[in-house]
């Protein structure tokens, strides 16, 4: 019966815990970016107002439930019959209307500030495309594409470099939600959306798809790396380069397998004839710390297991098992390990 109070307590408690991000990495009460901070401010206000209403009404209910119970020594007569009171009705109509107006105006202000913010020239553009069940990130200003792990520069409030995300979907509805950076916005096919973030701290921020999109909705995870400007620029440069040609041996054999099977129907590796668009771009696969949209860490063993049978990590994933021989599996894995 006290969940509202708990929410208030949780708000206070989890805000304290904010610096220890590793323990609660997706806590909405630990915002580090303006949209999330504005929501956080509003949420504390709403929690306070609802908390006060809760205490008042709860006390009145509890008081009347206890005070007006029938006593064992009751004389059996009916209590005084009261049919209503216009003054009271007026009071408990007008007071809630005032509360509603206050809450409405505060909400409208935050809505306006977040949604109608002017986009500065210094903004980074990223086009996010939701797929069943992974994320595609395009950087039109820099001319490369990556997947599942978004990199953005930290934004100094004095010289803001916010990141504007254009949200598209290739198939069903998805929703981009990284709680510490901003509220969620949906990715809807045929219905481009936009949101922005301006993280004030570097670090890794987790999130995931928040709109049911099919079988593997649960493992459509999001990782956002907020980097210093220098680190971000270095990362951009490395992503812009085509991978070095593979040296002869297992890796070259693996590349042949990769290019002669259906892999290239879905995956792209820039500088080669692999230019599929249906699955994640693999040009710099090894620069990512996870595979399968965050489902497992990007280790050679996991990579091999994933190629061998995607169902083991992510049943319902749209990537088919290619029925490679163990030798081919080793070779393809070796090849992919060269894609830095």
């Amino acid at each position: 019966m006290r969940s509202t109070t708990w929410a208030v307590l949780a708000g206070a408690l989890f805000s304290r815990l904010a610096p220890a991000e590793a323990s609660l990495p997706t806590n909405i009460f630990a915002p580090v970016s303006t949209p999330a901070q504005l929501v956080h401010g509003l949420s504390l206000f709403v929690l306070t107002v609802t908390g006060v209403i809760f205490v008042v009404v709860f006390s009145l209910l509890a008081y009347s439930a206890i005070k007006f119970r029938r006593r064992p020594d009751d004389d059996g007569r009916e209590p005084f019959q009261i049919y209503g009171s216009d003054q009271l009705e007026l009071a408990w109509t007008v007071i809630p209307i005032i509360i509603v107006m206050v809450l409405f105006l505060t909400s409208a202000r935050v809505i306006h500030t977040v949604q109608d913010a002017r986009k500065p020239k210094s903004a980074i553009d990223v086009t996010v495309v939701g797929h069943q069940f992974w994320w595609e990130f395009r950087y039109p200003q820099y001319g490369f594409v990556t997947a599942n792990e978004l990199h953005v520069p930290v934004s100094d409030p004095k010289h803001p470099t916010p990141t504007y995300l254009k949200l598209l979907s290739a198939d069903t509805d998805h929703s981009f939600w990284v709680p510490r950076l901003a509220g969620k916005t949906d990715l809807i096919p045929n219905h481009p959306n936009e949101m922005w973030i301006d993280p004030h701290e570097t670090g890794l921020f987790l999130g995931q798809c928040a709109q049911y999109c099919g079988t593997q909705h649960a493992k459509m995870l999001l990782r956002v790396y907020v980097q210093s400007r220098e680190d971000f620029d270095a990362w951009v440069r490395s992503q812009q380069q085509a991978p070095a040609p593979v040296s002869p041996g297992d890796a070259a054999a693996g590349q042949r397998v990769f290019q002669s099977t259906a892999c290239i129907n879905c995956h792209a590796v820039s500088g080669t004839n692999a230019n599929g668009k249906f699955g994640p771009d693999l040009t710099h696969l090894m620069s990512r710390s996870t595979i399968a949209s965050g489902a497992v860490p990007n280790t050679p063993a996991n990579l091999r297991g994933w190629i061998g049978n995607p169902e083991t990590f992510k049943p319902g994933s749209l990537m088919p098992a290619m029925n490679l021989t163990p030798k081919e599996l080793d070779e393809v894995t070796t090849y992919l390990l060269t894609l830095h």
Binding site: M1, W6, P25, T50, I53, F68, Q81, K184, P189, G214
Partner: protein
């Protein structure tokens, strides 16, 4: 109204018939057009599906109890949450509320049946058939050659997940057609209730003297006429998309996914009020009787309900704050959503006013209603949080919202319903429900409810989205999910005790008599269970509490109303 005209059944017909054979009994129930028998069938049907939907919920919670559990596959999990939601809304909550409305409305207005008894039977069988069709998808979803699959698109079935490209086989069609069929049943019943209330009231019962339960069911039925229609239209459009090459929601051919959301939620949100208003009705009958006072502010209660009915038709897009509406649209729906809290608050205060200064008897119906009042308060307050659009950008589609609407549906609707069961079971069967089992049921369910749904808010605040079949360890979600799951078992045991109590009390229970609660509305004037014709003589009323007038001729209500 004089006491001589008070209809007491048994005076009218004392003829005794030979005991019917079971085939005669079955035939009787299958072809009946009696509103009471249809009401009971609605209720029993809903209780069966309550257990089915509860089993589905339990499967979901076992899977989520620990991170990376392998109790069910993602496919099964997705089917289970789709079926759980669809079942609980369309084949539990609506039928059970229609059941009570069917049973009580004619009795409370002193009528002998609904306005259209045959339409009533037709509507029930449509609803019943809809539910069976939905569950037949377990066998027929893939077509007869396959192993079968059930709908897995979520209970709101967002486009384009329902398009042929993403939903092969027939599982989505089962979902569509079963809701279409039961939707026609719903419209039939809604028309019937409106017609009954408007044209079948006994002499003296003006609209202003109707019991609140009747008023609220009238508003609920009126709302249904507005809200089922877009749902039906959307289902038809979806069928056209899937089978006739239409592109209403087919985004790959230029259709709009957002338009489905609008169609669905302009049904879906008023639907919440369609479900809660009859529960307000139960509370508005039970609280006065057990506080021994008339309902506080009757005209305001009616006005507030009508107001909820209208305003709730304008709030639907608060389910869509994250789809990229403009800031003006978002702000508009914040205003309407918060505004609906005003008449709802008025209701809570009026129930409080009813209890104030009374002599509250803590019988089981009243205990459930008190639980309702506290929990509905909390549900309303979390609703305000979700209504503030920016807060919803964080909370929407998270476990917070799941906790919120279960607080409404379980903590509010189901608690009021259990209250209604304990209150009217004696009228329906003629037997009292066992008190000791009832207390066990109440306290176990209360404990389990709070264990499950209080703690469910927290993973939402910590960023856990809904509809995920598993989650990673180390997000801070695991402990809360475990607690939530444990609570489910307390609720399950409590519900089983309730079912047992009903069966046990039906056969062995204490005989109730006509008026076990010393109540004031007309249904308590006739025998328990009431005869087929309800009243030997059509009663005549002068006030909202005809039996109070009868019991207190020195101080009748009609002097004050």
């Amino acid at each position: 109204m004089s006491s001589e005209s008070l209809p007491i059944s048994g005076l009218a017909g004392l003829e005794t018939k030979p005991r019917p054979t079971w085939i005669e009994v079955l035939h009787e129930w299958l072809v009946t057009v009696d509103h009471k028998k249809l009401g009971i069938m609605y209720i029993v049907y809903a209780l069966v599906f309550l257990v089915v939907g509860g089993v589905e919920a339990t499967i979901l919670r076992i899977q989520l109890a620990i991170p990376h559990a392998h109790f069910v596959s993602p496919q099964v999990f997705n089917r289970m949450f789709t079926m759980h939601g669809t079942t609980m809304i369309f084949f539990v909550a609506m039928p059970v509320l229609f059941g009570f409305a069917n049973y009580l409305v004619p009795l409370m207005i002193g009528a002998r049946d609904m306005a259209f008894p045959r339409l009533n039977a037709f509507s029930f069988w449509l609803t019943a058939f809809g539910g069976l069709l939905l569950y037949f998808s377990f066998l027929g979803g893939d077509g007869l050659y396959g192993a079968g699959s059930t709908p897995d698109v979520g209970w709101w079935a967002y486009a384009p997940l329902t398009s042929v490209a993403f939903s092969r086989g027939h599982s989505t069609d089962y979902w569509t057609i079963s809701l279409l069929v039961s939707g026609f049943g719903t419209i039939g019943t809604a028309v019937n209730i409106v017609a009954t209330v408007l044209s079948m009231r006994c002499p003296g019962m003006t609209l202003g003297k109707m019991p609140l339960l009747v008023w609220l069911n009238l508003v609920m039925s009126g709302m249904l006429l507005f809200t089922i229609t877009p749902l039906t239209a959307a289902q038809l459009m979806l069928m056209i998309d899937r089978y006739m090459g239409g592109h209403f929601f087919d985004t790959q051919a230029g259709g709009s996914a957002a338009i489905w959301m609008h169609f669905f939620w302009i049904f879906g949100h008023p639907e919440v009020y369609v479900l809660i208003i009859p529960c307000f009705a139960f509370v508005s009958e039970i609280v006065p009787v057990f506080s021994r006072k008339p309902i506080f502010g009757y005209p305001i209660m009616v006005a507030a309900t009508v107001c909820i009915g209208f305003v709730s038709l304008s709030v639907w897009a608060h389910h869509m704050y994250t789809i990229g509406m403009t800031s003006y649209e978002n702000a508009f729906f914040v205003l309407t959503t918060l505004a609906v809290g005003v008449p709802t608050g008025i209701k809570i205060f009026n129930w409080l006013g009813t209890m104030w200064g009374g002599k509250i008897r803590y019988e089981l119906p009243m205990m459930w209603c008190l639980g309702f009042l506290f929990q509905f308060l909390i549900a309303g307050l979390t609703g305000i949080m979700l209504g503030a659009a920016p807060f919803d950008w964080q909370l929407g589609n998270s476990y917070f919202v799941v906790a919120h609407f279960h607080y409404v549906i379980v903590g509010g609707i189901l608690f009021a319903l259990f209250g209604a069961f304990y209150y009217w079971f004696p009228k329906i069967t003629g037997k009292m429900l066992d008190k000791k089992l009832g207390h066990w049921h109440f306290w176990l369910f209360l404990f389990g409810f709070h264990m499950t749904f209080d703690f469910m808010h927290i993973p939402g605040l910590l960023g856990m989205p809904r509809r995920i079949y598993t989650y990673e360890a180390g997000r801070g979600w695991a402990i809360w999910n475990l607690i939530v799951t444990i609570g489910v078992f307390f609720q399950a045991v409590a519900v089983l005790m309730f079912v047992f109590n009903m069966i046990h009390s039906y056969f062995r229970g204490r005989v109730a008599g006509n008026d076990p609660w010393d109540a004031w509305t007309l249904e308590w004037a006739t025998s328990s269970p009431p005869p087929e014709y309800n009243f030997a003589v059509i009663p005549e009323v002068k006030s909202r509490r005809p039996l109070w007038d009868l019991k207190h001729p020195e101080d009748p209500d009609w002097k004050y109303e």
